[in-house]
């Protein structure tokens, strides 16, 4: 759900930037007129939007309500409203301390995978996308075809072959098994490529070269700033993808010490369905709530950069 929403937004952003970059002065008049059309209200659209908002928010509401319940109250009270006791703080403490605090360990693992995996993926995608957009070299077309092809292959389909390969290398059951595959983001690369071709004027790079700046210095001091909105978009993406990564760690890891939150929470959930297993659904739900907090924060925080970046782009020249 979240991922899909981000995809749509990012695509809109990419397109929007392209249009704006392409339209410079002559079309200013038209875009003003279009602005006034947007302000007209449509009841139908409002209703549709409202329904969609409800559809998206209802599960969140459910999560919030049910994380305040005890295991006992969970199955004996109405699902969409609070039960008598407010056990949220109690649940949080239990979640963090259950089974020697393995939740905290998983939280740390997820953070590691996100910082190194998503951060690395964004950096690599930016470097590569920029290079493909701004430098002319033999084989560029071939790289383009490979990247487009890679976008089309779902990660799930590659999980088992990746597992077999990592197993031969002796890397399964280590953090590398999660980090290395997450470092690759063909979609992020493509996005930066498209974005960089418009956002970074070649004239600017030439000017920098004439002033004696090396290519790396130009990239980090000039281009990267111009690429900021695209960079943040790709970062958001990869963060969400890594944070929610489930299938890959599921098959790569067998030691619970390296589990990310997704796989860990599922193992808690499955525990009740086994003979003599303790049912801890209240902790699964509270754990899920705690799991989405950082991603919501990251989204709100990064969105600010992303919007200011967009605005900066629109008034340039």
């Amino acid at each position: 759900m979240t991922t899909e929403a981000t995809v749509t937004e990012a695509i809109t952003t990419a397109r929007g930037t392209e249009r704006r970059a392409g339209s410079r002065q002559p079309r200013l008049h038209r875009s003003v007129r279009r602005g006034s059309t947007v302000q007209r209200r449509s009841i139908l659209l409002t209703i549709v939007m409202g329904l969609l908002a409800l559809y998206a928010l209802l599960p969140l509401f459910w999560l919030l309500v049910n994380s305040t319940k005890t295991q006992r109250a969970l199955f004996s009270s109405f699902g969409l409203w609070f039960s008598g006791d407010f056990a949220l703080w109690d649940n949080i403490v239990q979640t963090l301390t259950y089974h020697d605090g393995e939740f905290v360990r998983w939280f740390g693992n997820t953070l590691l995978y996100v910082v190194v995996g998503a951060g690395g993926a964004t950096l690599l995608a930016t470097l590569a996308g920029y290079a493909l957009a701004k430098y002319d070299f033999p084989g560029r077309r071939a790289v383009f075809a490979v990247v487009l092809g890679a976008v089309a292959v779902p990660g799930t389909a590659l999980a088992v072959p990746t597992f077999l390969m990592f197993s031969q290398l002796g890397l399964t059951n280590t953090p590398w098994a999660i980090i290395l595959p997450s470092l690759i983001s063909p979609f992020g690369l493509y996005l930066i490529w498209v974005y960089a071709s418009d956002a970074v004027p070649s004239e600017l790079l030439e000017a920098a070269r004439i002033d004696g700046s090396g290519e790396f210095r130009t990239f980090f001091t000039v281009s990267l700033r111009l690429l900021a909105p695209g960079f943040v978009t790709v970062l958001l993406f990869t963060i969400v993808a890594t944070w929610n990564n489930y299938f890959l760690p599921l098959i790569m890891l067998s030691e619970s010490t390296w589990y990310p939150l997704t796989v860990g929470l599922n193992s808690w959930n499955a525990q009740a369905t086994t003979a003599g297993g303790e049912a801890i659904y209240h902790l699964v739900i509270t754990g899920s709530l705690l799991t989405i907090v950082p991603i919501v924060v990251a989204f709100l925080f990064l969105q600010r950069y992303w919007q200011s970046g967009l605005a900066a782009g629109s008034v340039k020249q």
């Binding site: 199955f75 077999l164 059951n173 003979a275 297993g277 049912a279």
Partner: protein, 448 residues
Amino acid sequence: MTTRSTIRRWAGVAVAAALAGSLAACATPSGGSEQGSASAEEIAAALQKESSITVWGWAPQLEPIVEAFEEKYPKIDVKLENVGTGNDHYTKLQNAIKAGTGAPDVAQVEYYALPQFALSGAFADLTGFGADELEDQYTASTWGSVSIDGGVYALPQDSGPMAMFYRADVFEKLGLEVPTTWDEYIAAGQAIHAADPNAYITNDVGDAGFTTSMIWQAGGQPYAVENGTDVTIDFADEGSTKWADTWNQLVENELVAPISSWSDEWYQGLGDGSIATLVIGAWMPGNLESGVPDAAGKWRVAPMPTYEEGVAAAAENGGGGDAVLEQSKNKLVAYGFLEFLNGPEGAAIHAANGGFPSTVADLESEDFLGYESDYFGGQKINEVLVQASKDVVPGWSYLPFQTYANSIYGDTVGQSYANASDLNEGLAAWQEASVQYGIDQGFTVNGK
């Protein structure tokens, strides 16, 4: 919920894909490795030497048993890892077997999944270590489940002889007798649903484990395996039809709650009595106590209803044992651990932690039989459950690709449930799809 079932399906596909490769390994003779056999003295000596083994399993009782083992054999380091429950665990196991490295030394395995690993040569035949002499320790039905094709591929841990758990308060309120035959059970189902349209005799949206266990009780033997690769699937046999015709009366008249087990609604129904009975394995009491604490004192247990008045019959539902992997480089210690885990010492700890044993000594012990469960209103539940373990109908076997077959159950028999139509048709579709898969995998499959 949807995501979870999708993932499960993917996991099924992964198992299937991995299985395709592993069958090729079937041709190489198993047990040919240097550690294929050992005497009791050699095993005892190995346990006194510094070494380590890895164990994969999800049963909560494994942890205290491993602790006790390490205390007794301080030189052995046991790494216990919970890699997932049920299907997730088998996917990982199959992947590691396919990869040729990374599998544990010992793995938990449910009875239904055992033939798949045993017949493909992934698990070591334990007869070389003297496991065949342990037969008398275990119940006939669990021993039957681990003896495959002349070998012993696992030692039983827990068992799940089926019984009927029921809400005494619901039956009392409606003035109903507790059913002893399936005809009475259906009549009770009608009465309960007529008195309250939101109440049902039980829940069932179609579950492969439940269906196979019910056919087992009815005396059906739809699966037969000979020489490891000659498979027969026949859901038109007498027992299968007997079950389907009986259960049809509940399904076609929508007398079973359309609620899947282990869901929120399920726990809610078990708690408020709108699901009045569960015909399920003997391991259920612990799950009721922790999952539905509010219903304490309301549940009771009775023998499973039968087809013929007064002729007791039961089946196994769930339960499993532990096996040694062919890949293991430390088989002597792995087997030594297995003997502890599934022998008297491990079994005692297992039973003390809410497991239902498969060892005759524990099942017959005074303490166990005399235990009065507060949750069940002081009833001596183990008397009923142990009797069930003796009444299990002999002769059942599972398919050598049962985890895959179970994964396509929803598309076949599940459709009969969804449409409230004839279960025999669903079973025929399941048979057809299973036969096709077996043939694709290189088995000789005879679908009658």
